[in-house]
Amino acid sequence: MAGSWWMCCRRFGAGFATSRLPDTLRCFGRRSACSSASSAGRPPWSSAPASERRPLFPAQSHSRAPDLGASVIRRHPGSLLYPTLQTCGCRATHSDAKPRDPFTLAQKDLASLYDDIKKELFVATAELQYLCDYYFDGRGKAIRPIIVVLMARAMNIHSNRAGDLLPGQRVIAMISEMIHTASLVHDDVIDGSDERRGKKSINEVWGERKAILAGDFILSAATKALARIGNSAVVKVVSQVIEDLVRGEFMQLGSKENENERFKHYLEKTYKKTASLMAHSCKAVSILVSSDPEVHEIAYQYGKNVGIAFQLVDDVLDFTSGAEQLGKPAAADLKLGLATGPVLFACQQFPELHALIMRRFSSKGDVDLAWQYVLQSDGVQQTTYLARRYCEEAIRQISRLRPSPERDALIRLTEIVLNRDK
């Protein structure tokens, strides 16, 4: 167990980021993540001084960005990757451009997303076709393709090309949504969910067996499209996601007795189930345009950190958002027996929760009781705070790229991830 955890740590953070995760995890063992982090003398998340004292989003206004960039240069020589360090000049000209909404910016590349997916899913059997298309109705947020498309353009510009997507990059944006959807279809069977995105789930309407087959079919169509890109390295990177998704699902079956182990387990599961797809899709589009492993790592780290933040916020919303907002009943995780961030933090304040977590909230009244504990604790705030830390790390990583509207949109996107209410 320990071995595999350390391997995971290695994957979580390469280079100077390596020390960060264990540091943070150590913090979780104590009462307050915030105080222990600053008392350690070395802020675990950002190379800038203790983050409470500076604005959350240095890049919110472009004038703040050089601060972060400068500190990166000071601490890690050579970590700013574009060769001509004309930081100031470049940013000055760039800051004339108005910061644009990530969704608007990505839209032109994603206009035909769902049509393209439906073309990949073409089959002779009408019913199977209908099932496969069922969730590609445009109601999803398509957050993954948006990230992938923006990352691809930012990477292209960073690599001295025009921003326009390469054909393979467009395919990866599509695949990211397909893999995500295939896993949702299977998750709904595993969790026995009867609703998804405001409509009945596939298993509810057509039964479990067909739902599983539809998920398998979407996955096979995705890997077929992936293979057609014709790049073995990209195939390897993206197929890692498929393995991570299943391993994450397996991790969700078990729980850990020890509190520290439990948090590691939770973060590792979050990485595998959510962040891996974003991280590896980002890495894949960077591989298609650049041969520099350091650049691939930036893409990977951005995707990973935003992905974990995204899921942490999702876990918070499960407690804070009403059923009508999220499109699914709140406290769904508790009902499934899952202890997510807010509960794990609450457990540090209310050790009574431990027993409930261990029996996966299976006794009568457990769900309500756990809910009460979470609301009384600062579990929600601490989870949000943690999500913010991951977003800061994502910003720090992406800021190492040459400036571009898409890069800045990726920075803006972290804000949207944190502030979304559904």
């Binding site: 089959v123 002779a124 059997t125 019913e127 199977l128 299977h186 069977v189 595993i190 026995g192 039964g207 479990e208 067996r209 067909k210 599983i212 087959l213 398998d216 079919f217 996955l219 096979s220 169509a221 890997t223 077929k224 992936l226 293979a227 057609r228 890109i229 014709g230 790049n231 073995s232 195939v235 390897k236 993206v238 197929s239 890692q240 498929i242 393995e243 998704l245 299943v246 391993r247 699902e249 397996f250 079956l253 078990g254």
Partner: protein
């Protein structure tokens, strides 16, 4: 639309029975000794039959976890139990069949002309490591779908059939373990460093899903719907039982950089062998001489499909009615007799021979070798009943 409650259980039981049959295709009758010999001889030719990939997969935390959980299913009727049982008791000659054929074809084709000498040095018993990995991947995919085929539709389940909780749990395990095998197949494919192979095998997975999807829609109609004719039976059976082997055989040639013609022939061998193989197993209940045993027969089995086409829809419906017992169950002895009285069985036997011959033809272009002989023996064995 919905069958009477009694038949639901029958159908489920017959699903599990068929699951078992699939795992022990050729070990049920006298033909089993021929088959076992052909297979065990062939296994010696390819050196060791398995690579470490399946071992790694089987010994993983995830699958041992599933194995522990599957024990909880003992005493329930979840099909996963039978599938799992098949791995333990019948893993010898049938479960690794597809992999074995991929290995034999790889060996029969030998090193590709375009392949470098360096690569040729890595060959073990005349087979490239990548081809061995491919053989394992083929097995992983096949097994994954054995498991996913056994997912139970919970709404068709009634309390009298047993606790719903068991079925939910069995489904969960089946989804996860099938997904796990598929995911391992995906990462294994990626390691082969050949995107053409990835594309081929991915499309085979798509075919397999379509075939099984069709299979499960058809079974749901209990044979009373429009039914299929022989041509569409062959198309569907190719998807559900042939595409994976055919495309794996082709991919094995691609991995050794053999030309398109070799790839085409390997594909044809895999395709026709699979169809012959399926016809053989469909024919088993009709050619067995054992009496007094009421084996449920699938209404989508080849001889029944042929029979239905020969006698026509109306006569078939009449025969189905006559075979129904008071409790709305099918008397399989009666049905068997009805099918046997016409030419359905012999037509299916003819088709089986046809596919066996086509498979034999396909490998004639490969140089004569013991691996080719083994492939010939296997292709001939599917016509032994």
């Amino acid at each position: 639309m919905f069958p009477a409650p009694g038949s639901r259980l029958t159908r489920l039981l017959s699903v599990s029975v068929r699951g078992l049959r699939r795992l022990s295709l050729f070990s049920s009758s006298e033909s089993s000794s021929t088959w076992s010999k052909v297979v065990s001889d062939a296994e010696k030719i390819v050196g060791y039959p398995t690579s470490f990939m399946s071992l790694r997969c089987l010994l993983s935390d995830e699958l041992s976890n599933v194995a522990m959980h599957v024990r909880k299913l003992v005493g329930t009727q979840h099909p996963l139990l039978n599938t799992a049982r098949g791995f333990v008791y019948d893993s010898k000659n049938n479960l690794q069949m597809r992999g074995l054929i991929v290995l034999l074809l790889s060996k029969a084709a030998g090193p590709g002309h375009a392949a470098s000498d360096l690569l040729t040095q890595d060959m073990v018993s005349g087979i490239y490591p990548s081809q061995r990995n491919l053989a394992e991947i083929t097995e992983l995919i096949h097994t994954a779908f054995l498991v996913h085929r056994g997912i139970v539709n919970l709404k068709e389940w009634t309390v009298s059939d047993g606790p719903l909780k068991d079925m939910e749990f069995g489904n969960k395990m089946a989804v996860l373990s099938g997904d796990f095998l598929l995911a391992n197949a995906c990462t294994g494919l990626a390691q082969l460093n050949d995107t053409k192979v990835v594309e081929l095998i991915s499309s085979a997975i798509g075919d397999l899903v379509q075939g099984i999807y069709y299979e499960s829609s058809y079974n749901a109609e209990d044979g009373l719907g429009e039914g299929v004719d022989v041509t569409s039976w062959e198309d569907q059976t190719f998807l559900s039982h042939g595409a994976l082997l055919a495309k794996s055989c082709q991919a094995a040639m691609q991995l050794a950089k053999h030309d398109r013609e070799a790839q085409r022939l390997a594909y044809l061998y895999g395709k026709h062998l699979s169809l012959g193989h399926k016809l053989n197993s469909d024919l088993q209940p009709f050619v067995e001489s054992r009496l007094g045993e009421m084996t449920p027969i699938s209404l989508s089995a080849a001889p029944v499909v042929f029979h239905r086409q020969i006698v026509g829809k109306e006569r078939w419906h009449q025969q189905l009615q006559e075979a129904r017992t008071l409790r709305n169950q099918l008397d399989y002895t009666k049905l068997l007799a009805a099918v046997k009285s016409e030419k359905g069985v012999s037509s299916a036997v003819d088709l089986c021979r046809y596919h066996s011959n086509r498979a034999l033809e396909a490998i004639q272009a490969f140089p004569s070798s013991e691996a080719r002989s083994a492939l010939e023996n296997i292709a001939s064995a599917v016509t032994k009943f």
